[in-house]
Symmetry: D2
Subunit: 337 residues, 4 copies
C-alpha cells in the first residue's frame, strides 16, 4: 500500500509511520516530494487492513495497491472456470439459458412452465421455494413442498434445477433437491450463508447485491471459494441507482470488466435488472453480445396472476422467440446456444 | 391503488381491468379523463401485490395508495414507543449514548474502553463479537469469548451492552449475554434473522441497510413487530451514494421524516456514516439538533491498532468532550443526556 | 393528477381541496376509500405544477398521471424520427457510426484520425473545440481554430462533422462550421443553450446528464423541440452511480425504454460510459444488439499523449475491427452499417 | 502521482513508463514489490492529466496524490474567508440567514415576504427572476422586471438581495440589481458562467451540483477564484440518491468535511435538500449544530399558490419560530444570529 502524508507532516510523524509499517511486517520505501511525502509499504499480507494508518498523526490518505481478492482473480488462474451442473456446463463456449417462474406456485404451474421452456430450448429450470419478500404480508414461497415440485419438474423434463437458499440452516435441505443453489441479491453479504455454501461444494449462482460494487461482489465470491467451493457463477441483476423508470439499472460495463478480473462465469438476469417484461428481450440480446455466458429469465404462463414478479415475467412464447434470436446472435460471436 | 390505463386503451381492456379488480376483492371506481382513464381500486388487502395489474393489456402504471407497513406506523400508534433496555430507556425525553469499540479484541481493551465511556457518561456499551467483514481474510471477531468479555465489562461498569447478531442460529446465544441485539446494515433484509429476533422479544437496534429506502427499512422493522417484538430502535448509519470523500452519506432528512412516519425511536451511528473520526463530533451535534433520540459511537483507546474500523473511532477523551457539548445542546432542545 | 388525502383528513379539508382543484380549472372526482380519500383531478394543463396541492391541509401526496413531455412522446408521433445530417440519416434502418478524438489537437492529428476512421467505415467525425473540463488548469480546447480544422477534415474525407457547443453565445459560430451540434452531459439542463439550439434548427446530439433521469432527459429534448428544432438525437453516455470501477454506469435498459417512450433516435457513447478503452468494443456490441441506432466512439492514434480522455480512446485499428463485428451483428438484427 | 504496474508487466514496460514520466517533466521513483511495481512521479504540474499513463502497456492504475484544487484549499490559506455582501458578512462568527420565495411573482408578494422575514431577523432576501425549470411549459420567472422588484424590496427593507443568474450574457445585468449572485445546482459546471462570474468580482453563492462530488464542487469554486473572484460561498442543497421519500438527500458530512478542506464559507439550503416544508426546521437546526455558517430558506406567504417550490416553502411565522430556536442554538456553539 501507499501511505500519503499531509503536506505539513513533520519528520517525527514520517518516522513514526515508517516504524509502524515495519512493525506490521512490511518494508518501508519513502518518496519525498516537493509538497508531500508518500511511503510505499512492500509486502503481501492478505486481509491486512491498510486503513489503520489513517489514524496516525500526519497521515492524509492510504492507497491500497494489491487487490483484496485472490482465489477468484484471473491473475491467479488465467483460464475460464467452467461450472458443471450435473452435465450442463456454464462458462464454456455454449451459452446457457435458465428459465422459469419467480416462485413455484403449484404442481400444474411449474410443470407447464417447465415443459414450455424445455421445448423452447432452455438448459435449466429456475423457481423459488423460499422467497425473501420485502413485506411480511406477501407470499413467502411453498418451502420444502416447492422444492419437491421443482425437483419433480426437473426430472420429468430433464432440465437441471436451480433455486434460492436464504438461511444457512437450509443449505443441506435445498442441496438435496436442487442441482444448483442461488444466493439472492439481499444475501450477497450474508457471510454465514456464504460459508455454508462454500462448505457444501454445490454449484451456486451468486447474484450481485442491490448496491454492491464489483469488488465487494468478487469478495463475496472469494468467501465461497475460500471455504472450499469453486463452482461459483456470478449473476448481474441490475443495481440500485436514482433512476426510477426501471426497477434496477443494468450495469452493462460489468460484463466485460468481470471477464478481465475473474475466471468465473458471468450470467445476467434481465428480469430483475429491468422489472419490465417488455424490455427483457432487447436487454437479453445486449448482454449476450457484450460477452455474458448466459441468462436467467423469469418466464410465467399467467403473469397477471403470478404470486410474485409478474410484471417482469415473459410468456413462454416470447421466451421461445428470444431463443431463436439468441441462436442467430450466438453464431456470429463464436458461440452456440 | 390506482390503475392508470394507457391513452390508447380500449373499452375492452378497461372492462377487463375492472373485472380483475373485483376478482381480487376490491371495488372499482373508474375516472374517465380526456386522455387517460384511471381506475381506483378500493379495499384494504395488506400484502397484496398491486403490480400484478402491470401485466394486463392496456395498463400503463399502477400507483399504490396505502402504505405497505402498519404496525410501525404512526397512523396506527400516535405516541412514541419507548424501548426499555433493562432500565435504560430509548425514545424518551432523555437522549441515549451508546459507545465502545467496533470489535471486542481482549479483556483489557473492552474493560479500559468501558470504564472510559462510563466515566464520560455513556448509557450503554457496544462491541462486536461476530463481525461481518467484506474479506474472508479479515478478523471475524472473538465469537462467544467476545460475548463473555462484553457481558463482564457491562456488569463491572453497570453499562447495558449491545452487540450484533449475524446468524439466525445465534440469536438465543447472543441474547443470553447481551441486553440488546443489533442487526447490521448488511442484514437489514435477512428475513430469517428478523423473524428469529421478532420471536425473541429482546430489544434490538435495526440499522438501515447500505442502500435501503426509508420504506424498505420500515418494512424490515415491520417484520420484527409482526413476529412479536415491539422493542425496535431504528439506527441511521449513512447510505451509499456516489460520494467517495466519506465512507457513507448521512441522510439527515431521514431523522425528522421517520419521526413523522413511525412511533419507533431513531438513533444515529456517526462513525459508520462518516468513516472519519474527525467528522464524528460535528455530525453527532447535528443529528441530535435535528431530533435523533441518541447516538451509537465507535470509541477506541488505540485506534491505530484497532482490529477493525480504526479510522472512524474516536478516542475516549474526545468522546468525553462531545458529551459535554451534547449536554449543552440537549438543554436548549428540551431534552437531557 | 390524483390527490391522496391523509387518513385523518376531515370533510372540510377534502372540500377545500376539491374547490382548489376546480379553481385551477380541473374537474374533481373524489373516491372515498375505507382509510383514505383520493381525489382525481381531470383536465389537461401542460406545465401545471401538481405539487402545489402538497401544501394544503390534509393532503398526503400528489400523483401526476399525465407525462410531462408531449412533443418528444411516441404517444404524439408513433413513427420513428429520422434526423438528416446533410445526407447522413440517424434513426433509419442503417446504423450510424461517429468516431474521432475527444479534442481536436492539431491539423495533423485530426486529419490522420479522420482518414483512419473514414477508411474503417465511419459515417461522421467527432472532435471537441470547446472542452468543458472539471479543472481550470486543464486543456480547454482550440476554440474556433479547432472548428476550422474539424471542418477541413470533414471536407477532405467527406465525413459529416459534429462538435460540442457549451455557450449560448457560440451556437451560431459553431453551427457555421459543423454539420451537427452536440450538447454535453454537463449542459443537458443549460436551458438557455437548449433554447438557442432549439431556435437554430441544426441537428443536435443531446447527451444524457450525468445523473439525469430518463424523464428529465426527455424534458430537455422537449425544450429543443418546443423552441422549434425537431432534429434531436438522444445519446446515452453512462450515468453516475456508486460504482467506481468504471467511469460511469451504462444504463442498458434506457435503450429499449426510450424506444417505447419517444420517436427520437437513440445512440450510445461507450467511451464515456466506460472510461476504459478495453471495454469499448464489448459494450458497443451490446448496445447495438439491444436496439441503439448508432455509436459515437472516441478514437485516437496516440492515446497516451491525447490532451484529454486518452484512457477511454481506442486506436483506429481497433475501431476498424469493431466495425467488422458490428457489420455481422447488424445483419442478424435486420439492420446495416 | 503513483503509477501502479500490472503484476505481469515486464522490464521493458516499466522502463517505458519511467521514460514517459521524465518526458512529462517529473522525476521517477520506482518501488519494486513482490507482485507489483509502483512508480512514484514527483513534481507539481497543476492541470496535468495523470490518466494518460493508463493507456501505456503494463499499467494497471494511476493514483493522483496532489489535490486538483489550490486556491480554494485550506492548505493554501488556513484562515476562514469572510465574504462581505455590502456589509453583511458570511463566514464570520455571526450566522447568516437568507430567506424569501423561490420565485418573485409580484410586487405585493415580494414586499410582503421581505417585510415578514426582515421582522423575523433575516439578513438577506432571496428570490428568483430567472428560473431554470425542467419543463418548458412551467413559469420561467419575471426576468428583469423581477430583478427590479427584488432590488426595490431590498431597498425598502434594508435587506441585501441575492438572485440566480443562469446565462453568461446576464451576469452584468443581474449584478447591477443584486448584492449577491447565485449559481444554481444545474449550472455548477457551466464553466462559461463560472468564468463570467469570476471576472465580475461580485459575491456569489455556488450551489452544489445535483450529483457533484465534493471535489468537483471545489473545482467549480476554483474556476471562480482562478478567474479573479474570491467572494465565493458554498451552499449544500442536497444530492441525488436512490431515496425518493425526500426531494434530495442532505449530505450532513459535507459540512465538517468542507470546513477541513477549504477556507470558504459554507451555508445550507434545507428547502431544496428536503423538498418538504415540514422537515425544514429540524434540518436547519441540524446543519447549524454541525457547523454551517448560515441558511438560505424558501419562505412564502401562500405556498399553495406559489408559482414554484410551494411544497418546500415555509410560512413566515414558522421562519420566525425557527429564528428563535436558532438563536438559542447559536449561543451554545459560540456563535450568534
Amino acid at each position: 500500500m501507499i501511505i500519503v502524508m499531509q503536506p505539513n507532516a513533520d519528520k517525527e510523524q514520517i518516522k513514526h509511520v515508517e516504524e509502524q509499517i515495519k512493525a506490521f511486517g512490511f518494508q518501508a520505501h519513502p518518496i519525498y516530494g516537493e509538497f508531500k511525502t508518500v511511503i510505499g509499504a512492500i509486502g503481501d499480507k492478505t486481509g491486512f487492513d491498510s486503513q489503520v494508518f489513517l489514524n496516525m498523526p500526519g497521515v492524509e490518505t492510504v492507497v491500497p495497491i494489491m487487490k483484496p481478492y485472490k482465489l477468484v482473480s484471473r491473475e491467479l488462474k488465467s483460464d475460464n472456470t467452467v461450472v458443471d451442473v450435473n452435465g450442463v456446463k456454464i462458462g464454456d463456449e455454449k451459452l446457457i439459458s435458465i428459465a422459469g417462474p419467480c416462485a413455484i406456485e403449484s404442481e400444474r404451474q411449474i410443470m407447464d412452465i417447465a415443459c414450455a421452456v424445455k421445448k423452447a430450448g432452455a438448459d435449466m429450470l429456475r423457481g423459488g421455494a423460499y422467497k425473501p419478500r420485502t413485506s411480511p404480508y406477501a407470499f413467502q414461497g411453498l418451502g420444502e413442498d416447492g422444492l419437491k415440485l421443482l425437483a419433480q419438474a426437473g426430472q420429468e423434463t430433464g432440465l437441471r434445477v436451480v433455486t434460492e437458499v436464504v438461511d444457512p440452516r437450509d443449505v443441506e435441505l435445498v442441496a438435496s433437491y436442487a442441482d444448483m443453489l442461488q444466493i439472492g441479491a439481499r444475501n450477497m453479504q450474508n457471510y454465514r450463508l456464504l460459508q455454508e455454501i462454500g462448505a457444501s461444494k454445490k454449484p451456486v449462482i451468486l447474484k450481485r447485491g442491490i448496491s454492491a460494487t464489483i469488488e465487494e461482489w468478487l469478495m463475496a465470491a472469494e468467501y465461497i471459494l475460500y471455504n472450499g467451493n469453486t463452482n461459483v457463477v456470478l449473476c448481474e441483476r441490475g443495481i440500485r441507482t436514482y433512476e426510477t423508470a426501471t426497477r434496477n439499472t443494468l450495469d452493462l460495463n460489468a460484463i466485460p470488466l468481470l471477464k478481465e478480473l475473474t475466471h468465473l462465469p458471468v450470467i445476467v438476469d434481465p428480469s430483475h435488472a429491468t422489472g419490465l417484461w417488455r424490455l427483457v428481450p432487447s436487454v437479453s440480446m445486449g448482454v449476450i453480445a457484450a460477452g455474458a455466458d448466459g441468462l436467467i429469465i423469469e418466464v410465467h404462463n399467467d403473469p397477471s396472476h403470478a404470486l410474485s414478479d409478474g410484471p417482469q415475467s415473459i410468456l413462454p412464447e416470447r421466451f421461445a422467440e428470444l431463443m431463436v434470436n439468441l441462436k442467430a446472435l450466438a453464431a456470429i460471436i463464436g458461440r452456440s446456444i
